[in-house]
């Protein structure tokens, strides 16, 4: 019965979304203020009904209602109850419902917190969001209904949640990532409303900025969590694989990052307007492409997609309407490219443009790499897959360029910066970071000598220090001798500096962990030991241990450094009862300077096991940096000036068609 309530609530939400999509938009054209205002209450109502629907599905999971097909496929009575909740979004149907819930949540947030928007603009934004909700609602109800019954065959036991997903990381990762993906719907809706109304001024830019920052913050957090999860859960010690799922999240992130920077120039200087609009459209389009196409498998392999052509066709039509329609609107109504001579030489505008070019190139190169196998297949060039070497080859130089630019950009001014000033401010940071970078690898290497000198490590130390040093020098200039000035810094300024610092920390983590990573796959039996870097790993023994819904082989590995016990690690190999799947649970001893990573491979007969032992210096910095970047985004979104009343500004313009 609960499931039917959920189903009904979803249908009601779809009807509300339909009205929300149509009425305020019509109202904005015929000038009916009450019609436009309707969008606000409808958005909140729609959110409530989707929330009810979602709660019903969660309740069905908690009650082990295996008459529901979706529950039967993704849950099990033995599953701990917190995993039953996370199993709600463990597969296609439920994760779409989560998408719809989050979209409704963002719409409701816009309705509640954007009262200051001029009515036509606010109504149109909510209409666009409503229209996207309609698309999702239809997709859910007609092709992916999570409330479909499995009658008359009721199962006594469910098939269990994929063991890979039975993990804390998977409880939090998808919702946060979706918050990011779906969050870009808001700037998208603002862009569409701007195109319809023909208003692309500073006020418009200021209204969308905090939403961009928030969505971007969630996406950053989501990607960071995903990378961390892959690292400890997949059991190989890798943290980024360039697989289509990761690429799908990185592409909107790169475009979102470009968007944040370009809209800053649009707000402050009125430049890059059409570019900013286009980025807002792209960021959301790539989010859609990401969730949809990856879920449906069109990017992983064309194959899973065609396996369910009904969904595939629906997805393509939806994408065509949303992306094609908005690009058509852009082509017809977009602001003509300005010939701007408002900036010249080394200006902040130029640096932001550099940032945009680099980020968008990186996105394009990932898009090409991800789609190339598909295109090659369609063109009958054979079935090809593009591997990490391709991505690294293009991505690394672009990131190097980006970091160099970050350091320069901090020093530049709007409009025009004297080359002399740049040289004067940049010289000291450059010298310091170069010197430190040249020397640092001598102390970081395994044997502290020239033989273990790593150019990669030197490069990453240089880039990270260059960014950090320029930030420090800028802070020093701004503070001067009066420390109380710190309190006057705007949150956007602090957010920017924090995010850039995070970027430097992340690069340091990536560079050093790649340069000094040591790993070995060994055949070990109890009593064996192995030396890796300065650590001695002793395989003590192995036990069989029962878990709630699995049985595990658990090994004990002692780690010693110069005969002193550092830690004991307990990696596991789990056999899940329901699906018979085998999972590797790595054991990690984390610290900022290095991770010790042990995972259990295959049993090789008797008490002998294949064991993977790894020492990963500074790998934590990658995620620490990611967290700092996200926090920077949050700080910038909370800047006071976004909360000032903006009603006065160009309210009249918004009504113009």
């Amino acid at each position: 019965m609960i499931a039917e309530f959920g189903h009904a609530a979803l249908i009601i939400a779809l009807c509300l979304a339909l009205v929300q999509a149509v009425v305020p938009m019509l109202g904005s054209f015929v000038g009916q203020r009450s019609w436009m205002r309707l969008g606000y209450s409808l958005a909140v109502g729609q959110f409530l009904f989707v929330a009810v629907s979602f709660a019903c599905l969660a309740a069905a999971f908690l009650a082990d209602d295996f008459t529901l097909k979706y529950v039967a496929q993704n849950s099990n009575t033995e599953l701990p109850s917190y995993y039953k909740i996370s199993a709600v979004w463990g597969a296609h149907e439920g994760s779409l419902l989560l998408w719809a819930l989050i979209l409704a949540g963002w719409s409701a947030a816009v309705a509640l917190f954007s009262r200051a928007l001029p009515l036509p603009m606010g109504g149109r934004v909510l209409s666009v969001l409503g229209a996207i909700s309609v698309g999702f609602g239809l997709f859910l109800l007609f092709t992916s209904n999570p409330f479909a019954r499995l009658l008359p065959v009721a199962l006594l036991q469910g098939a269990d949640l994929n063991p890979l997903l039975q993990d804390f990381g998977l409880i939090v990762h998808p919702p946060i990532l979706y918050m990011g993906y779906v969050g870009f719907a808001v700037p998208f809706a603002f862009a569409i409303a701007a195109l319809i109304g023909g208003q692309f001024d500073a006020a418009w830019a200021r209204w969308s900025r905090p939403w961009i920052n928030l969505a971007w913050m969630f996406l950053t957090l989501g990607i960071t969590l995903g990378s961390w999860w892959a690292y400890y859960e997949l059991g190989w010690g890798g943290w980024w694989f360039w697989d289509p799922v990761e690429n799908a999240s990185l592409m909107p992130w790169l475009v979102g990052t470009a968007l944040m920077h370009s809209i800053a120039a649009t707000e402050k200087r009125g430049v890059f307007r059409s570019w900013t609009l286009l980025l807002a459209i792209f960021a959301f389009s790539l989010s859609l492409l990401g969730t949809f196409l990856v879920r449906s498998g069109v990017l992983t392999s064309v194959h899973a997609f065609a396996a369910d052509p009904q969904r595939g066709v629906f997805i393509l039509i939806f994408l065509a309407i949303v992306i094609g329609g908005s690009l058509m609107l852009f082509a017809l109504r977009g602001p003509a490219m300005q010939k701007v001579l408002a900036y010249s030489g080394w200006s902040r505008e130029l640096m932001l443009l550099t940032n945009n070019v680099l980020l968008v190139s990186a996105m394009t190169m990932i898009l090409v790499g991800t789609l190339y196998p598909l295109i090659a297949d369609v063109l009958e060039l054979g079935k090809i897959s593009v591997g990490p070497p391709y991505f690294n080859f293009f991505f690394v130089p672009l990131v190097i360029g980006l970091l160099v630019a970050v350091g320069i950009a901090v020093t530049t001014r709007w409009r025009k910066t004297e080359g002399r000033l740049l040289l004067q401010k940049g010289a000291l940071p450059l010298v310091i970071s170069l010197l430190c970078a040249l020397v640092a690898p001598l102390f970081l290497g395994a044997d502290r000598s020239f033989s273990s000198y790593s150019a990669g490590a030197a490069l990453s130390v240089f880039l990270a220090l260059w960014v950090l040093a320029t930030i420090t020098s800028d802070l020093k200039d701004k503070i001067g001798t009066d420390l109380t000035r710190v309190a006057k810094f705007s949150r956007s300024y602090l957010g920017m500096q924090l995010a850039h610092t995070g970027l430097a920390v992340c690069v340091l983590g990536v560079g050093l962990s790649v340069a000094y990573d040591e790993s070995r796959e060994l055949r070990m039996q109890p009593g064996d030991s192995a030396q890796i870097a300065s650590y001695q790993f002793q395989f003590v023994g192995i036990d069989r241990i029962p878990g709630p819904n699995f049985i595990a082989h658990r090994a004990e590995v002692r780690v010693l450094q110069q005969d002193r016990l550092v830690t004991s690690l307990f990696p596991e190999k789990r056999n899940y009862n329901a699906g018979g799947q085998v999972m590797t649970e790595a054991a990690i001893d984390p610290s900022l300077a290095r991770d010790l990573y042990v995972s259990l491979g295959e049993p090789l007969g008797g008490n002998t096991w294949a064991i993977s032992l790894q020492v990963k210096p500074f790998v934590r910095c990658i995620w620490l940096g990611g967290l700092m970047i996200a926090l920077g985004g949050l700080l910038a979104a909370m800047d006071r000036r976004y909360r000032r009343q903006t009603r006065v500004v160009s309210a009249a313009k918004g009504t113009a068609l």
């Binding site: 064309v302 194959h303 094609g324 082509a331």
Partner: protein, 177 residues
């Protein structure tokens, strides 16, 4: 000129969606294995029903099907009668019991009949990895020289057999005689 530039993103998108749309028409089950035309990978794995170690040496010097199956695989239930039928017609089928629990697998064969010459137990999926198995069920056609000639991802039913396997099978059978 400026206004025309605004159409560039739209045109790019249209081209891209044409490719995506073409992608819809591709047949999912036609995954050419990287191994088609190559020898069956070398392995040494236990037998499901007897205490012995199997290897490629145990393959008969005849045309055989290698069928990847498991008790956790629902589609295998649907496929099983077809395999029984093929075996009754004299087709040699070797089972690859993929990432499964031995006891349940033995019971499965008792309950549903055993169409296989013998079953290779690949509990860790290592042979499956070498073969590039994407899941169960999958079926490979191996010629008398031990070369993989055809692959089917998904259920092998009468239609698939008639369309993709039968001709090749008869031809290979003719060659080996």
């Amino acid at each position: 000129m400026n206004r025309i530039a605004l159409f560039v993103p739209l045109v790019l998108f249209v081209v891209l969606s044409l490719f995506l749309f073409k992608g819809l028409e591709r047949d999912p089950a036609q995954l050419p294995s990287a191994l088609v035309g190559e020898a069956f990978p070398v392995f040494a794995l236990p037998d499901l029903l007897e205490e012995r170690l199997l290897s490629t040496e145990d393959f008969p010097s005849q045309v055989v099907l290698v069928n990847i199956w498991a008790t956790w695989c629902f589609a295998c239930r649907i496929e099983h009668p077809m395999l029984n039928q093929l075996a009754a017609q004299g087709v040699n089928i070797i089972g690859l019991n993929y990432k499964d629990q031995t006891q349940q697998a033995q019971q499965w064969l008792q309950e549903r009949g055993n169409p296989y010459l013998f079953n290779i137990v690949d509990q860790q999926g290592s042979l499956g990895f070498d073969l590039g198995v994407t899941g169960a069920p999958e079926t490979y056609l191996i010629d008398a020289q031990g070369i993989i000639r055809q692959r089917r991802v998904g259920v092998l039913d009468q239609a698939v057999w008639d369309r993709e396997f039968n001709d090749l099978y008869q031809q290979l059978l003719g060659e080996s005689r």
